[in-house]
């Protein structure tokens, strides 16, 4: 067990290194020296030179002890991403944005999960009936509507036209007030895909022998569904849930933009608008790191639950 965990831990090192390498190649090598653009139109030579120094563009890319790559490795590993265009430390911006993002994505995620899993149980039980077919069709239809349309029409009708919710975020609103509509839209948009996934999971379980046995014993439908099927369907559900957690930290790019929620998605949109690639790089790295960590946690949990698992 211990050896498994140690080997699994060691396995993350090349992955993290790979992420560092990819971010370096993308954001430093391919992007090139953007000090002129960063300095603005009427900048003096000295300002440009100063920016070049700060970003390290004057150093060689690889193959030197003070090369840009070594600097990138050192800084990124300790979460020192430098400053954004507005001279604020990027890591401070990210810390500030994480709260609003999480308060949007966590209720959205839990809502989608609970609704789609319980609906999936019902639909899977009614498999083959007209309700099941209709539900699947509705799911596919829901998946086919672009997320942007959900947001725009939702915001227009529910908030703007009928005035049920506030249209934009403003600091004097309570959290429930300004988050209700984005969360609702997020759940509505995510329901189709999730319900269809969980239905497949449940259907696989429904065909198992133990379900037939349970019914043969004379157990009630509710008992079979919630006691037996749900328990066995938990493994794929938990995998999906745990691997979705890193994405919760990143917030929702589009929802945050439309509702003006000052989270990480908003931060990224701003960075794209300002062509500030250092912010995007920081977010990319943090997102990848979270994903690696949660992947590690899932694998170790599996190893505890299932003794057959071992790393080859």
């Amino acid at each position: 067990m211990i050896t498994y965990i140690i080997r699994r831990l060691l396995y993350t090192i090349p992955i993290v290194f790979g992420v560092l390498l990819i971010t370096f190649i993308l954001f430093i090598v391919v992007s090139g020296d953007t000090s002129v653009e960063e300095a603005g139109k009427s900048a003096s030579k000295e300002t440009i030179e100063e920016i070049r120094k700060e970003r390290g563009y004057d150093k060689p890319l690889f193959l030197s002890w003070d090369s840009q790559f070594i600097k990138h490795l050192k800084n990124t590993l300790v979460f020192d991403f430098g400053r954004a265009r507005d001279r604020e430390l990027i890591i401070d911006k990210i810390k500030r944005g994480a709260g609003p993002s999480l308060s949007l994505t966590i209720p959205m995620f839990l809502g989608t999960l609970i609704i789609s899993v319980s609906l999936a149980l019902v639909v899977a039980f009614l498999r083959g009936t007209i309700i099941d077919i209709l539900a699947v069709l509705l799911c596919v239809a829901g998946m086919s509507i672009p997320f942007l349309s959900f947001i725009l029409f939702g915001q227009y009708f529910l908030a703007f036209k009928w005035g049920l919710f506030p249209v934009f975020f403003s600091p004097d609103l309570t959290m429930v007030q300004y988050l209700a509509l984005p969360v609702l839209i997020g759940i509505a948009a995510g329901l189709g895909g999730n319900l269809r996934f969980y239905r497949t999971v449940m259907l696989d379980e429904m065909r198992s022998d133990y379900v037939r046995t349970a019914f043969a014993k004379g157990l009630s439908v509710r008992r079979v569904l919630f006691k037996h099927v749900l328990k066995n369907a938990m493994i794929p559900i938990i995998t999906r849930v745990v691997l979705a957690i890193p994405f919760l930290f990143l917030g929702s790019l589009l929802l945050e933009r439309f509702f003006g929620i000052p989270g990480l998605g908003y931060l990224m949109i701003e960075a794209i608008g300002a062509r500030d690639r250092y912010v995007i790089m920081a977010m990319t790295y943090i997102g990848a790191l979270l994903f690696v960590v949660f992947n590690l946690i899932t694998d170790i949990c599996y190893a505890f639950v299932d003794p057959r698992i071992s790393l080859e």
Binding site: L21, I22, F27, P146, L148, L152, F153, I272, M283, T284
Partner: protein
């Protein structure tokens, strides 16, 4: 034993009955027959064909410079923000241009982006997956490391990063602008799924009898991969192509919306972006037109892709 008795129904004692069943069919013929029985899938296929024909038509009008229909999207057909009428089905936009024509033209942009993105992602994913699965060893480890790394970066961030970095770059004297950077970004980031699938399948296939037979004839590795293994896993490529196409169309919409896509010509994402400001003023038609266009192609591709998977994947057939 199963092979010997194929095509003949047996009675309970295992004796051949006189009546012969129809001749055995190959995977493709069989799959097509199954597909044709699904009415919904065939309707979806029809819708997809309409979109493809439209794309082809727009391309042809551009090549020959015909001034018809969607090619004249930038023509002023009425006053600004005209609501839908018999003359302009979807009304007009802020410059008095026909929204209907813009939607038709946007079809070409979206389909071309999704097509090239698919070609790039298959072009990277399939060879890498086949090589990794066939040769194993160090090559396999490097490729697996590469795609594990890429897949640990959240997809949307990776696309954004690529699109942001590739924009305005000059490669081989060709400036990456508009949709080129979009499909490059989508293509370079989305080969991981197909690569993983192909690798897994090739590992399963490479020790099968037919591959051993080919090797004993003296076939080289490249011939075995290209002529023997790839045709046997080709249905996976087709299924993946049709299902990921939807994702590419939607990704193009989001990228265009974020201002990283096509700027000078109308695309569905750009139309939705414009509608962001128009909708609060009550001009709902441009938004609706783009949504309907995206909805039907996505719905058709989703249904058709699922049907394709159900009819081509031998593992799902038993049900």
């Amino acid at each position: 034993m199963l092979l010997l008795t194929r095509g003949f129904p047996l009675n309970e004692q295992g004796v051949k009955l006189k009546k012969e069943l129809p001749k055995g069919r190959g995977l493709w013929v069989d799959g097509l027959r199954r597909l044709r029985r699904r009415k919904l899938a065939m309707v979806s296929f029809g819708i997809i064909m309409v979109y493809l024909l439209l794309t082809g038509f727009v391309c042809v009008t551009e090549i020959f410079d015909w001034q018809v229909g969607p090619a004249r999207w930038d023509e002023k057909v009425g006053s600004e923000y005209e609501p839908p009428s018999a003359e302009n089905i979807f009304g007009t936009d802020f410059l008095g241009r026909s929204v209907f024509r813009k939607t038709l033209y946007g079809t070409k942009i979206s389909i071309t982006v999704a097509f090239w993105a698919s070609v790039i992602s298959l072009g990277i994913g399939v060879p890498l997956g086949a090589i990794a699965g066939y040769f194993r060893g160090v090559v396999d480890e490097i490729i697996v490391w590469l795609y594990t790394t890429l897949s640990s970066i959240p997809y949307i961030l990776l696309i954004l990063a690529f699109a942001l970095v590739l924009r305005g770059k000059t490669v081989f004297g060709y400036k990456l602008a508009g949709i080129t950077s979009v499909y490059l970004a989508i293509g370079f980031t989305s080969w991981v799924g197909i690569c993983r699938l192909i690798r897994g399948e090739v590992i399963k296939h490479k020790d099968r009898e037919y591959v051993l037979a080919a090797r004993s004839y003296g076939c080289g590795n490249s011939r075995i991969i290209l002529r023997y293994i790839i045709p046997n896993v080709f249905h996976i490529i087709i299924i993946n192509f049709s299902l990921s196409f939807v994702g590419f169309i939607q990704a193009e919409v989001i990228l265009s919306f974020l201002g990283l896509g096509e700027k000078t010509r109308p695309s569905w994402g750009a139309m939705i972006d414009a509608a962001r400001l128009d909708l609060p003023k009550g001009y709902w038609w441009e938004m609706t037109a783009a949504t309907i266009a995206i909805f039907f192609i996505s719905l058709a591709l989703n249904i058709f892709g699922d049907a394709l998977r159900d009819s081509l994947d031998p593992k799902l057939r038993i049900q």
